[in-house]
């Protein structure tokens, strides 16, 4: 038993102390992508946002597509891990932290994009309500103002939610590390000693957060959907958008999570911990969401088609039959035709299988957001003022760099924090009388309640 606890600790701390050459190459690539984006933004700031492909009437395009996309991805972690915690699916243990990390980082990116997309970014602080002698406040009727508050709330929440269960692990690293590292992690560990009281508090805090974060997550993407639904624009003005976006968000979120796990598994040699069963279970979730997504898309399109109002039909045919047909049908293939069989057939629901399905879904969901934003704007009410949109290299670069930023943050995170919660693994282990049961849902064990203090060697 001690041996296995040691084993876990060693395996999971290894990435913090030893990194492969592969890892550094990955970091380098991610960094260069990010810097390319920074350069492109500098150029845009300097020359004017006209270096983008946007025009009238297509005032939003890649920018908002990516914004919605990343906010969507952010629904992987916190939401899922919260649900898994509440339903205490014990197989969650190796999964939760990767998931919560994704949330925090993609939210960060999602929050940065709008700053880059507005015409005068240096005035973005006007979104913040602060008292001033001009008696001017943000316009609280604007969905963009709602976005601002929703996203900042969610970001705070999910950061806390990520931090809390990491405290014991910071403590573990503190104890393992020396020198400067030790100092840093001592601060991060907030003096964690693993006393029953602390465990008690942690457990309660976790439980509260888990309960609170779920509605926040749901509200955030609903509000994002309202950026569209609150306008009169054909094919935007739809009451289905709230749930549609939330479903899509979770859908893309899970896909992103599976991809991230698959990569980490390879990069950090966590084959022991991230087992097929995890991918299998997440795969089942993904399958459900895929079906749900299809249902929503079908419902949305059907109502538009059946209603047959000319402005909506213009956009409708544009996306499924004319200019955007290739993208539209690619989206359907990526989000439905590919994942469903793979995930439905047990034999195919392997790690590779789910990874492939997830990759498809991530692409498909990006396309979905693009197809919501652009065709509608290209074909508003007065045909005389219709337009067309082509992205420029600046937009492409910014988009690429958003992925670069995600990769970089994630890689660095994995360098400083154990990507799998050490203590939770130990709990899982200890809960089964020494038999390392990591991947089977157990019926006897209930939540995080711990029988007695942890073995001293873990606590110190």
């Amino acid at each position: 038993m001690q041996a296995t606890a040691e084993q876990i600790e060693q395996d999971l701390l290894r990435p913090l102390f030893h990194s492969s050459g592969k890892y550094w190459v990955a970091v380098a690539l991610a960094t260069s992508l990010l810097l390319a984006g920074v350069a492109a933004f500098g150029y845009q700031l300097y020359t004017g946002i006209g270096v983008w492909g946007i025009n009238s009437p297509v005032f939003w395009a890649f920018d908002i597509t990516n914004f919605v996309f990343w906010i969507g991805i952010s629904h992987a972690g916190t939401l899922i891990s919260a649900i898994l915690r509440l339903t205490n699916a014990t197989w969650r243990r190796p999964v939760t932290r990767c998931a919560e990390a994704i949330t925090v980082f993609s939210l960060l990116i999602g929050a940065i994009i709008p700053l880059c997309h507005i015409g005068r970014p240096w005035l973005a602080f006007w979104m913040i309500p602060y008292p001033n002698e001009r008696h001017i406040w943000p316009n609280f009727r604007s969905p963009l103002a709602w976005d601002f508050f929703a996203i900042s709330t969610y970001l705070t929440g999910s950061t806390t939610f990520l931090y809390l269960p990491t405290i014991p692990d910071f403590a573990a690293v503190r104890d393992a590390a020396t020198g400067l590292r030790k100092k840093v992690y001592r601060i991060l560990a907030l003096g964690w000693q693993g006393t029953p009281r602390q465990w008690q508090r942690l457990e309660v805090a976790m439980h509260i957060m888990a309960v609170v974060i779920v509605p926040v997550a749901v509200s955030v993407h609903t509000i994002v959907s309202w950026d569209f639904a609150m306008t009169l624009v054909p094919m935007w003005h739809s009451s289905i958008f709230g749930p549609y976006f939330v479903a899509g968000a979770i859908f893309s979120g899970i896909a992103a999570l599976i991809l991230a796990m698959a990569l980490l598994r390879k990069l950090l040699h966590l084959e022991e911990y991230l087992r097929p069963i995890h991918f299998g279970n997440l795969g089942k979730l993904l399958l459900t969401m895929s079906l749900l997504w299809f249902y929503f898309t079908f419902a949305e399109r059907l109502t538009a088609w059946y209603g047959n109002s000319p402005p909506e039909m213009a956009v409708f045919w544009e996306s499924i039959r004319k200019q955007f047909a290739p993208l539209f049908w690619t989206m359907v293939v990526c989000n439905f035709i590919i994942p469903v069989p793979i995930l439905a057939i047990k034999r195919l629901r392997t790690i590779t299988g789910t990874a492939i399905a997830s990759a498809a879904v991530v692409v498909g969901m990006w396309l979905e957001r693009f197809l919501i934003v652009v065709p509608a704007l290209e074909h508003k009410f007065l045909p005389y003022s219709w337009g067309t949109y082509r992205p420029t290299w600046v937009e492409d670069t910014l988009m690429a760099s958003s992925f670069g930023m995600m990769a970089l943050l994630y890689l660095l995170f994995s360098k400083f924090v154990p990507m799998i919660s050490i203590w939770e693994m130990k709990v899982g282990l200890q809960a089964h009388g020494g038999v390392p049961v990591i991947a089977t849902a157990d019926r006897q064990h209930h939540g995080l309640v711990l029988e007695g203090p942890l073995p001293t060697d873990v606590a110190e």
């Binding site: 020359t47 004017g48 946002i49 006209g50 983008w52 492909g53 946007i54 025009n55 009238s56 009437p57 297509v58 005032f59 939003w60 709008p114 997309h117 507005i118 015409g119 005068r120 970014p121 005035l123 973005a124 006007w126 979104m127 001017i136 406040w137 943000p138 316009n139 009727r141 604007s142 969905p143 963009l144 103002a145 601002f148 950026d227 609150m230 306008t231 009169l232 624009v233 704007l377 508003k380 009410f381 007065l382 045909p383 005389y384 003022s385 337009g387 067309t388």
Partner: protein, 235 residues
Amino acid sequence: MAHKWGMVVDLDRCTGCEACVVACHAENNIPTVGEDQAARGRAKHWIRVERYWEGDFPNPKIRFQPVLCQQCDEAPCEPVCPTYASNHTPEGLNSQVYNRCIGTRFCANACPYSVRFFNFYNPQWDMPLQLQLNPDVSVRSVGIMEKCTFCVQRIKAAEIQAEAEKRELKDGEFNTACAQSCASKALVFGDLNDPNSEVARLSSSNRGTKLLGELGTKPNVTYLERGTWEDASHG
């Protein structure tokens, strides 16, 4: 009683001469963006004459339809602006407050009439063309949304003058640049709250319709449908 500025567009009088378009450019410092930008769909015309074909040769029909900001009472552009740059004035205008605009472009997307224009770059005039600029109107810089203002500078000037002379504004004492230049009087501008004003009288015409009225934006611009020879009493 407060003014409520409105306009009537008589589609039966409009000849599509586009004098209004140039008048607007001259009055409101609207930059010409040049061929490349125009090709990318960034030409700025606060007022445009849309035209729609009906039927084919030998019986084609054309409808001209001048479209400018409808100055809606229930303007979709207003609530969506996070900084109040787009808001409603007591005199019923959708004002665009340039200095408050941070350029989210949400208003332009929300506008069903596509009459809002964005400064993708800083405007520019080859010297000495800048000498034509109207000092009564701001030159908008990069990242700012702009649109038809019903020539608010003329409204303000007239109101200040009337106030100085301690009198009420008279109907037709001033005019928007487009209406001023319209030879066939297809564009009539005035105070809808003044029951005797020409615009008030015309907007209650039985030919009157609102552009995309079904959207419930409550425009202050009224369109008068084309008449036909047959229904008018002739011979």
